[in-house]
Structure formats: C-alpha cells, structure tokens
Symmetry: C2
Subunit: 251 residues, 2 copies
C-alpha cells in the first residue's frame, strides 16, 4: 500500500536514524579529539576520494535527465564542488584542509594512497547513480538530510580538539552547512512527489540504505586500516612512508 | 621498453608474491583452525557472493569477445561454476560447504547477510571486466596463478582442524585444483602474447594488482566485522540473529 508523504518521509528519516555514519566509532574518535595526526591524515586522504567523485556522480545523473529544469536545478551541486566564479569549490576547500593537517595536497589530489575499499565503495555509488532509476539516484542523495548535524558536530569537535582547525581549514564544512539545505529540500520534495507507489517507495528506501552502506564502509575501512589493530592493506597509504618522503623533500 | 616474456611473467608472479590474499591474517586464522564456527560461517556467507559473481564476470567478458574460439575457450569457466551435465558446478558445491558449516543454504544463496564492503569489492571486479580492455580483463583473472597453493593449504588446514571438513564439504576446493590449471595456462599465455608493448605490460600488471586488492578487501571486511574487535556494519549478517532464526525454525 502506498504510504502517505508524511509516513514515507518518516521511513526515509528512520534509515538515517538507524544507519547514518554519524554513529560510526571513527567519527566518535575524530570529533572527540582522539585521533592521532596520522589518523586525521588518513581520513583526509580517503575522504578526498569521495569528495572528488561527487561531481562525477552528479554529471552521471545529469547525463540521464531530459528535463532542462531538473538539470539546471541539479547543476548547482557540481558548481558547489568544482567552483563557480568567486567560489573556489568544495574540492579546493578540501585540499586546504589537507594543507592544514600536514599532508601534501598533490599526494591527496593524486588519490595514490587511497584504500582500495574506499574506491570500491565510492565507485559503487557513482555506478549506482549511472545504472539505477532516476528515483533511486535522487533518493540515494538524501543522506544530505542527516548531514547538517554531523557537519556542525564536526566543526565544534575539530575546533575544540585539534590545532589545525580554524575557519580557513574547516571552510569545507562551513560551506556545506549553507549548500546542503537547498539540495536536500529539492531532492526530498522530488522523491516524495515521484515515489507514488508502494514499490517505488520501497526502492527509494533501499537506495538510501545503500548510500548509508557506502558511507559506513568507508569508515570501516579507515578504522580497520589505521585505528586498531592497524592492518593497512598492500599499496594503501603508510604513515611512515609518507613521513619519510616528506623529510626527503624538506632536506 | 617492452620486457621479454620471461621478465614480464616474473613481474606478474611478483604481484602475487607481494599482495595475494594467502598472506591475509584471516586466512592464517582459518587454515590454522583458529576460527570460531561463526567466523567460518561469515566467511562462507561472504565468499559465496564472490563465487556467485564469477560466472557473471565471465559472461560480461564473453559478451565483448568477437572471436568464437576465444569465447569457446572461456566458456568452460562458466560451466565450472554453473554446472554442465553430470558436473553440478562450483556454486552448488559452495552451498554444500554452507550446509556442512551449519548455515542455511537458502540464506547464503539469498546473499542477504553479505557485508556491503564485500559487494562493493566484488561488483568492482565485475565492472572492471566489463569496462576495461580485454587484456586487462584477462590479466585480472591471473590471480588463479596463485590459487592452487592456497587451495591445497586450505584443504589440509580445514581437514586437520574442523569437524565439518570432509571430501564432500570441501569438494569445491578439490575441484578447483583440477579446473584452475587449464584456465590459468590459457589466460597466462594469452596475456603474454597480447601484452606486446611496455604500456600494455604495465596495464596488465596494474590489472592483476587491482584484482589482488579486490580479494584482500573482502578479507579485510570480514576480519574487521567478525574477528576482533568485531564491528559488524548495519544490515550485515549478525551471528545472534542467525542463531535466533535457526532456533525459531527448528521449534
């Protein structure tokens, strides 16, 4: 039976309450000031892969949209990440965070030390958006419903606990607090309007659940590789190697 | 500079020496008899997703091959997994292993409790074979070069340490010992013949490296979720839930 909009929205929000990555132990460590400098760097390096893939994902979505109005509404997401006029964009702001935590921005931008599991998860999201129905693609983006709370907690936690944190280094998160609400208001109303059968509502909930898996798996990989017990897989970023190469550069 | 066949084959084998998943701590636990029954079940459940995806991967490969001879040579891989005449096939043999370790074969076949990170890694492999050059697709299959050793070690370790292990439950691995050599002989000679420039040799090595990442990431996810400290992500198989549902069924 098709649920009312109110019931359906509550179902979507329940996915976040159960599975959003604000509940992952890595975020607790990060926001409570319990990450070592190398653990923060590992997070910055891996999360960059996600950031860098978001506009690719949005372009994949737009490549399937025939309605110019919908494409135009969606285009601002790419501008938010890649920049537009005076706005340098979220990817550049993320690299500024890399500078602040003491990891080479060229290394981060190269994506060389990213965990394979991070790539597998993020690439799965890009392909999901390319291959599934448009409704599922938009529904997967609705993790933004839950993002403002985690961004606010992150800004507060990083400012309180880490020397690198200031307005400049955290500008990515501050900007997302401004940008995300317009995206999610649009996405949510689009999903509420288009999921007009029980089957489509189920598909939208499954897509949002899939997206929470994508986010959770990234932190799982990070935790397994760099927290405890540290088991860094072959080829992924090694703190010592990085420090050695940095020292070599400075000499 | 293009390396000789001998040098190039040595480079491919070095990828296995450095990165094949026989070196992963989960396999050491498994083969040394140190896995709990639930840890063995988690391995059987998750590895099934890989097994079940292999013939899909091989069909994706064949869908790109224009030469009937190459398709015919490749087809036996699908037969090995899906069955042919009297041969029940590797997927069915894997489900027999599921029976033996005490996990419901219907649950395993449903893929319901598979870790998201397992799916992301395996799906990345299927898409790699679908999207990359044919040379890269064949080169990625060459982890089979390293498989006979791990299958032999597994048969010996499981027989020595676990009650469930016997000829019947381990028939999957025994059959692979017979099947894999013909596949890898064909794949290796094909790669050696077609990687006729330095650039193609590099691409083949990168493809094989990618495949070792796919295998390693699966065990990393398993270890992180079910070994220590156990952090099972939302929606993945939970030992207690499984036992509860089993008890409910038996009553």
């Amino acid at each position: 039976m098709t649920a009312s909009s109110v019931e359906f929205e509550a179902r979507l929000r329940e996915v976040g309450a159960q599975r959003y990555h604000d509940k992952h132990p890595f975020h607790h460590l990060l926001h409570d000031g319990k990450c070592s400098p190398d653990q923060v760097r590992a997070w910055v390096i891996n999360r960059f892969y996600y950031q860098a893939s978001i506009p690719i994902k949005d372009a994949a979505f737009m490549s399937r949209v025939e309605d110019p109005k919908l494409r135009r509404a969606w285009r601002s997401r790419i501008e938010d990440h890649d920049g537009h006029g005076e706005n340098e964009g979220g990817i550049e702001r993320w690299l500024r965070l890399a500078d602040a935590v003491g990891v080479d921005r060229g290394f981060v931008a190269s994506k060389a030390g990213v965990l394979p599991a991070t790539k597998f998860a993020v690439d799965a999201y890009v392909r999901f958006v390319r291959d599934k129905t448009m409704l599922e693609a938009v529904a997967a983006s609705l993790t933004e419903l839950f993002a403002p709370k985690i961004h606010a907690a992150r800004i507060e936690g990083l400012l309180a606990h880490y020397d690198f944190a200031d307005d400049r280094s955290l500008s990515y998160f501050k900007n997302r607090l401004k940008e995300a609400p317009k995206d999610v208001a649009f996405g949510l109303s689009w999903v509420l309007e288009h999921a007009n059968t029980a089957e489509k509502q189920d598909a939208a909930v499954a897509a949002l659940t899939f997206k929470t898996d994508v986010l959770w798996a990234q932190l799982d990989a990070l935790y397994a590789a760099y927290v405890t017990p540290a088991r860094i897989p072959p080829g992924a970023w090694q703190p010592d190697t990085f420090l050695a190469s940095r020292c070599a550069k400075a000499s």
